[in-house]
Structure formats: C-alpha cells, structure tokens
Amino acid sequence: MSFSHPQSRQTEDADALRGLVDPKQGWLDRSIFWDPAIYAVELERIFARSWIFVAHDTQVPNVGDFLTTYVGEDAVIVSRARDNKVHVFINSCSHRGNRVCFAEAGTARRFTCNFHGWSYGLDGALSGVTAEHLYKNNPTFDRKKLGLHKARVESYGGMHFANFDPDAPSLADYLGDFRWYLDIILDNDEGGIEFIDGNIKSRLKCNWKFPAENFIGDAYHATWTHSSALLALFGKVPEMHADRSYQVNANGHGWEFGTDFVGNAATLCEPEIVDYLRESEAMFQERLGKTRSRMVGSLSSATVFPNLSFLAGHNTFRTWNPKGPTETELHTWVFLNRNAPDALKEKYRRGVMLTFSPAGVFEMDDGENFEHCTASNAGVVTRRRKLHTGLGLGSEIDHPELKGHVHQNQINEANHRAFYQRWVDLMTAPIWADVPAR
C-alpha cells in the first residue's frame, strides 16, 4: 500500500486507511504497526496536528529555562521567554537547517546556531545575524520571517502542549471531557503537581502505538505480564473487580481504573505514600467528589491521545515519541503534589525507579512484549491476518456521574477501540473540521 503526500491525497487513500481498522468490532490490520507509508501519514496527520505534551510548568520555572524534546519526529525547543510564557519552536535554523540547541535542558539568554552564528531569542524570533550588513538591501531577507517555526502552545493544569496546526481546536476542546479526569491528578490538591528533576529516556524497537494503547486500556495484561514483579514484591497478584472498575474515554483519550483508591500507589513499596493518600482522602473527596477521589491512586493506567501516558498512584508521566515505524523513544518523569511533604518526593522518586523505569521490575517485561508485537509483522503472511481487539464488546453503560463513554470492567479493550477510532478519524480527515468529536 502506498500513500501520497497529504496535499495531493486521493480519496482511495482515505478508504484504504479506513479499511485498516474496525473500531466497532475491534479488528486491526497489522500493517499499521509496520508500514513506513502509513507511518509517514501518522507524522503528518496525527503528530503535526494534535496537541502534543512538551513540558510541565515546573520543568521551566524561570525566564530563560529551556528543554529540548520532540513533536513527532520534529525536534523542538521549549523555552520560557521574557513574557514569562512558554514558547515552543522547531529546533532547526532558518538558514541552513542546522540543529540550534544541543543540550537537553538548561538556561539560556538566546539560542545561537553553530554553523554561521544566527541567534534566536527565547521566543524563537531571529535576534542576531553574523555580519548582517551583507544582507543589506537583500530583497528576500526579512528578519521577521526568519524566526524559528513556532507552535501554538496551550496548557492545562500546568501541562504544556504544542500544536503545529493553526486549524486545530483549542486544547480545551481537544481534551474535551477528559479534562474532568485529568483533574484527578492535576487538581486533587490546590497546589497542583510538580515534576521531579530529571527525565529518563530510552529506546524501544516497537511501534509507538503498542505502548500508547497499552496504557490507555490494557488492564488485561497487568497480572499476567507483570506476574513476576507482583509475586516478587507482594507474593500474590492483585484482584480486579469487574463490578467496581471501568474504562472511560473521550476524544480518543482514555483511562482504565479500579475504584480501589491506592492499588497503584501500594506497588511502589513505600508505605508512607499510601499513608499520605489515606490522610488526604477527605481533601480529595472535597475537591473531586467521592467517585473521582477513589481514582487518585487506584489500579489504573491512561493515555492522552496520541502519546502521553500516565499512571495515577505511581505518579509517572511518559511520552512515546515515534522514531520510525518500528522504533519509539520513551521519556519518563515522576510527579507529585507540590504541597506533599518533602520527604515524600524521595519516596516517589525511588518507588518509580524500582517499578516503572527501564530497570524497573514492572517495566522490564513490557518492552519485550511491545518489541515482539512489532517485529513479528515483518512477515508478509503474518500481516495477512488482523489482530483481535474485541474484548468487552457491548460493555458500554450509562453512569450517573462518569463522563465520556463509560464501560464496565477495567479488563476491557473498549479504550483501545476508542484510540483507534480517533486514529482513523484523524488519518482520514483532510482538515480538523472533518474530525468528529468522540
């Protein structure tokens, strides 16, 4: 299958893409995890048009603070400029295209290119040109047009997202009802959250969607894949209760969860964390109501479409950055409530390291799965059969309180299907106006 450049795309391309996933019945064509042509469309239509998480406010607290990361495969600089706002722009010089910033984080007054010395302000504007008199009376040289390519930046609860599509909806509309769920971690305390210093990065030889879908709804794998970690830490695997657990999703973002309050938090093996949550339960209830307060640290996982995942209770955020159809760069952070006692910071930092970092006892077994789910698709015959993602068909319920689409039982693939619904919506929509709210 081949897909032309989006500008010249013909309708057969959209039809072909629609044939790849059946979100109603739960069938996925394996080529979406393998085909470079499909991947190229993903970069254009998903990553270059969606709101992509780039930084939490506390990672760039002061004017001049910056970090470098990726929006799809586009390298970007995230920097706090003199207007005290967070700006995001492409990390590639407007002159010959050299990378402008090579540090992963730091503090700067400007970003200067190593090649010929053009420099850019903290907001990405072109601020200095070496021997500028050489450009005098040059008809095409216009400083104002030669700044670094800027993204739209909007934030929710201190989480900054970037978007390179001027026609994309606001971040608020993009998140939709999922904001109500994000508040469970971003706003269970009036101080909000902060990120702990440092960001562990690692490469997995897998398609980016395997981990993204894993976090959006794969409670099913938890007790099987992670049996070794659960047995090592607790001597048994936890029970999930169909009648007291759910999957919820909105606009392709989703959260699978139990209502056990501290299930995830307990696996960090730091009892003080569970104590803190229990002591704060009244505050959580007051801010979030009883139902949502039970999700603050419960057995759960979630993904904000397309590639921001998190674990409530474990207090880790991560992004799955595409590096080709069969490679992903994982960025992992630890967060906690800013008002939580200082000693707790250390507990979360060590707890996440033991469990959900690349050397962590849980994470260890995930990478192996994601890589082999990807690699097996090298086989042409292998790719002829579709993958079954139909667990929990017909499990949608009406819930008096929970927003978005609600499915009974966290052991379900309803959120996977919602993820691929959003995926195919975006992949086939020429403009954002054609993307339905889900």
């Binding site: 210093d197 960001n199 562990i200 690692s202 830490l233």
Partner: protein, 183 residues
C-alpha cells in the same frame, strides 16, 4: 561530584600494595562472572549491608551550565539499598519473569581497574570500566558501557565487600528496552 565533568580527576593518588590491587582485581573479575552466570544470590553476598548502588540518569547539558549533570535528587535507573537489590533479584527468579526466559546471554567485561587508598585503612576507592553485552532471543544485542567508582571494604573477617557503587552510564538516551542486568 564535580558538576562540569563526571570523570574523576584524582590521578596522583599513591599506588597501593601490589597484592591488594591484585586481590581487588580478582574480586571484580569474579563478580563479573557471577553476573554473567546470573548467580544473583551469590552476587548479593558481595554487597555490604549499607550498600548504595547508584546508576543516575545522565543529562546532556552545556559545559557552561552550572547545574550538576548528575544529582542524587534526580531520576535514576538504580538508586538502591540492599532491600531494593533483593527485590530486583526476586523478580528475576520468578518463573513468570518472561523477559528472562529463554535466558539472556550476559557478557560483563571489566577493565581499567585502579585502586586508590582512602582515609580508612580498610576501604579503597576503585575505578573501573565495564563493557556489557546482552544477547537475547535470536539476534538481539544490547550494548552498555559504563564508568564505575566503587568503595571496596575489607570486613573484619578479611572478606571484601562492595560498599558503594556509582555507575555512570555513557548513554543519555538508553539504547535498550530495559536493563535486566547489573553493572
């Protein structure tokens, strides 16, 4: 730890006794062989009760940046005491540790061992380099290189133990899906 350069600068330390250097070298080689053989319980026996086993995340920052390139308050791959190390071993020992079966073929090469005296007569700072290869399944080959700084202690019984291990991974982006080994 010097913030601008994570490689230790002490090059003028007096030489230690040849027999001692030899004993410590042999100790580290044997340790590597225990790891190659996944003899983790025996490996844990080499750790002092107060072991701090630390492999921090490394950041690529500019030379002029005054912020430390590594820090104890930052995220790490390992920042373990004996209890944490035991938990990791306990996981690897489960029959459901899927990522360990079939077993990884481990290769730990230790070299550039330098033994330096400390203020205590029974403790030495030991620098070394590790080259680690993990071969898995059909063609997987994962490569890790690290610079180590250990504090090796001779206990009253005469036995050598690792009291501190600082492992400076050379990759800022880990080129592997996991670290199912110890360095």
């Amino acid at each position: 730890m010097d913030s601008s350069n994570t490689v230790e600068a002490t090059v003028d330390a007096p030489l230690v006794d040849r027999d001692l250097a030899y004993a410590i070298e042999q100790f580290l080689y044997r340790e590597a062989r225990l790891l190659d053989g996944e003899r983790y319980e025996e490996w844990l026996e080499l750790m002092a009760e107060d072991i701090h086993y630390w492999m921090p995340g490394i950041q690529a920052r500019y030379r002029a940046d005054k912020v430390a390139k590594i820090s104890l308050s930052r995220m790490a791959y390992f920042d373990d005491d004996l209890d944490y190390l035991r938990k990791r071993v306990e996981r690897a020992r489960q029959t459901t540790a899927w990522a360990e079966d079939p077993p990884t073929r481990h290769f730990h090469m230790v070299t550039n061992i330098e033994v330096q005296p400390t203020e205590r007569p029974n403790e030495w700072t030991v620098h070394s380099l590790v080259f680690n290869l993990r071969h898995r399944n059909e063609a997987e080959q994962l490569e890790l290189t690290a610079r180590r700084r250990d504090l090796i202690r001779q206990e009253a019984t005469g036995v050598l133990k690792i009291a501190r291990r600082f492992i400076q991974l050379q990759q800022t982006v880990l080129q592997a899906k996991n670290i199912n080994t110890f360095l």
